[in-house]
């Protein structure tokens, strides 16, 4: 009883008390997965070219530090797809369709950028919202399939990644304003639709990262402070109990997927609407029938951030950091795909890092106990 009084915190659910150990172990688990991913990447580098492996690996590890602006710039889209995956995860949904939602968002933003003539200062804002809408559209479909037809969201999302990709590529290729056939890429976007730069020289970092961070914080508040967050997490933990408590499961599934889709869609918009450091140009898109990688990188970001929006801010920055490093490793002959390998390995180990973490913890504890016993015996 005394315990209870001293422990009774003043405010709120106080998740700190509750998740102190859980949060901590999630963090160490993420570190473990990262370490294993990097070690694996290093081994691949040695196999590919032993002479340059060390200098290449150094680029991967610290290369990004000198280009923090770029790191943030490239972190923006994967932060958004990471949030898209992570938010749905909390509801117990695996949104592997962030790629398609991202592509759709990018396309909607492109469309508004080229086809709508809007005044400076408004154009890019409208384009971002268009991107959000596009992503929502592609998110709601798996949501509806899941809620009303009981089709697993994983398979739907994958199919809609392909459908979205083909559809967008087809429409872009068929539009003479957007597409330059001779260069097989999209035209340069008008400057009115480019997101204002943050003005760091030599970098494309722009307001997008600020928006992404604000959105992440907003999502954190939604999850931890609102009744919707309460319902969403309850459903993710135990959907039967959520039903029993009268929560509208179907509505929440659709709503969650719409929000997730909107997040990924904005990610696509942020990516394509980013300003270019080279005057008179812009970001472009090549419709070559390839699924957007940023969607899948979002899975890694979400897992590393243990689906916590605040954690995702950091994990996205980290992934972007090693991606920059990977690009720099090109200087000594390594291809940037090395980072995709590292990311895949990180996801692989994230899937069971918590279990591994616990096992290692037990092992260390046992060793310490043994040592204690030993010293006790010796003392006697």
């Amino acid at each position: 009883m005394q315990d209870k009084q001293t422990q009774t915190p003043k405010k709120g659910f106080d998740l700190k008390q509750l998740t102190k150990s859980r949060g901590f172990s999630a963090f160490t688990a993420a570190l473990l997965a990262i370490a294993l991913g990097l070690i694996f990447g290093f081994i691949v580098m040695i196999l590919a070219n032993p002479d340059k492996a060390i200098s290449g690996f150094r680029y991967v590890l610290v290369g990004g530090l000198g280009r923090f602006g770029d790191v943030l710039y490239f972190a923006t889209p994967i932060m958004m797809t990471g949030l898209a995956v992570g938010f749905a995860f909390r509801m117990g949904l695996f949104n592997i369709g962030a790629s398609g939602q991202y592509t759709m968002g990018m396309f909607f933003a492109l469309y508004v950028g080229f086809m709508w003539d809007l005044p400076n200062g408004i154009h890019w804002i409208v384009a971002i919202f268009a991107g959000m809408l596009g992503g929502m559209l592609w998110g709601i479909i798996p949501g509806l399939f899941k809620a009303f037809l009981n089709v697993n969201e994983v398979i739907t999302s994958i199919m809609f990644n392909y459908i979205g990709m083909y559809l967008v590529d087809m429409i872009i290729q068929g539009n003479g304003v957007i597409y330059i056939a001779s260069k097989s890429r999209t035209n340069y976007l008008p400057s009115t639709v480019q997101i204002p730069s943050l003005g760091i020289t030599g970098s494309n970092v722009n307001l997008g990262i600020i928006f992404a961070i604000i959105i992440a914080i907003a999502l954190f508040i939604v999850l931890e402070r609102t009744t919707f967050g309460y319902e969403l997490k309850a459903t993710g933990f135990n959907k039967y109990a959520a039903d029993y408590a009268g929560m509208k499961g179907k509505r929440n599934i659709v709503l969650t997927m719409v929000i997730a889709g909107g997040l990924a869609g904005m990610g696509g918009a942020f990516a394509i609407l980013a300003p270019s450091a080279i005057a008179g140009s812009s970001m472009t898109y090549e419709p070559i029938n390839i699924i957007a990688a940023n969607g899948f990188n979002g899975i890694a970001v979400a897992l590393l951030g243990s689906s916590n929006p605040i954690g995702i801010i950091f994990s996205a920055t980290f992934i972007s950091h090693i991606q920059r490093g990977g690009t720099l490793a090109n200087l000594v002959g390594y291809k940037p795909e090395i980072i995709d390998i590292v990311i895949a390995v990180i996801i692989y180990f994230s899937a069971f890092a918590m279990i591994m973490n616990a096992a290692i913890g037990r092992f260390i504890k046992a060793r310490i106990n043994k040592r204690h016993q030993k010293t006790e015996k010796e003392a006697k």
């Binding site: 209870k4 609102t226 009744t227 309850a234 933990f237 135990n238 959520a242 029993y244």
Partner: protein
Amino acid sequence: MENYIVEMLNITKEFPGIIANDNITLNLKKGEVHALLGENGAGKSTLMSVLFGLYQAEKGEIRKNGQVVKINNPNDANALGIGMVHQHFKLVEIFTVLENIILGVEPNKLGFLQKSEAKEKVMALSEKYGLSINPDALIEDISVGMQQRVEILKMLYRDNEILIFDEPTAVLTPQEIKELLKIMRGFAEEGKSILFITHKLNEIMEVADRCTVLRKGKYIGTVNVKESNKEELSKMMVGRDVNFNVDKKPAEIKDVVLSVKGVTVPSKHHKNNAVKDVSFEVRAGEIVCLAGIEGNGQTEFVAALTGLDKMSAGTITLSGKDITKSSIRERSVSGMSHIPEDRHKHGLVLEYSLEQNMVLQRYWQPEFQKNGFIKFDAVRKYAEGLIERFDVRSGQGPISVVRSMSGGNQQKAIIAREIDKKHDLLVAVQPTRGLDVGAIEYIHKQLVERRDAGKGVLLVSLELDEVMNVSDRILVMYEGEIVGELDPKNTTVQELGLYMSGAKRNTAKEINHAG
């Protein structure tokens, strides 16, 4: 020293947090029926799982015919002639009876199944022991009693001579139980040795030669059943005299709270309806018990009543309001509280804290939220109040993660939540399942207290003692129908059993009249 076929000596088995078996010794004679008695959680199943090789004990040894043996897995157990009928049948539903019997010991040539050979042996066994089965039927299509026969045939097919039955009677009708006990006796007379796990004293008195009693993981003693009696056994089991009767005043019955008319619910497993044309009423100030053997439509009926599942016909009226088409939330708001059958599946979000679970039905009410934001202070205060009033114990009070709490306290939390919520009707489904005697008494008291506070209580129970002692009126459900209405004061357990097994029924007219 007597000759024992199996000796389990000083067995200790620990799980994280609890010692399930603490230095337990059990000796089994050849050709005897040996009962293993204890309450839920006394460690009976764990001990048998150790014998069957599903768990390995930390300490102690097992001897077969005096030789020390190591049983690391069910294969080892099987090789020693030990077989087990599990409480929850271990049958593959989409396989046939025959496939289930031979699984693991398939007769084969170069890996190819020889089913006709297997079928001959199975049919011979089936005939010899009077366990008739259809070898080609799918498990999902046959009755629970039939499934149990398949489990028994599994052991016989493996030529097991030591047969473990883990609570085999829980899912059977009184008549089927009688049949099973006779078969067990027959096995013993043939020289097989039987270990019979149960917590039902009548069955022990009827069939067992000796009885070993466990309590809270500890060995209490072994007695010859003939030299003992029910009172002694029950005292050994619970450690004190048990008051089987629930103290309660005569019911003061008032207005109708719940009226159910013609409710029909389709089954998820087969084409027939799981609930057929069920009609009855519950009045304020009475406890109505829906009794029956497991799997006779009670679960489906409750799901339809509370809105978890759809029904295909019928109407439900709660306090004069038609709630037939209402959502779960609307029913809850209209005055229905629900203590669910499976507290882990439905009743709690185990990862949430105690206080978060306390508002599971009410988090959206203005008391606990404003503009969609949860009022954490109000939640904390409310939870603390309930914890104190209902004596819910946990490690860290309102912020304890519910998963870390004991089953009894988890159930108390649900009861606190459902009782404190505004309600006219309390639906309590097997509220005492898996709990110890203290918690059971507490819950029975709460149910009676609700009744006396003028609420209607619908209790769904499988336990005959609970049915007889707690309720004011009994409705018996059999194969989805209400087959009888009984007054617990004017009926016997035997009569109740006849209704539950479908051997006896009131005519529909009589029931309607009585209702």
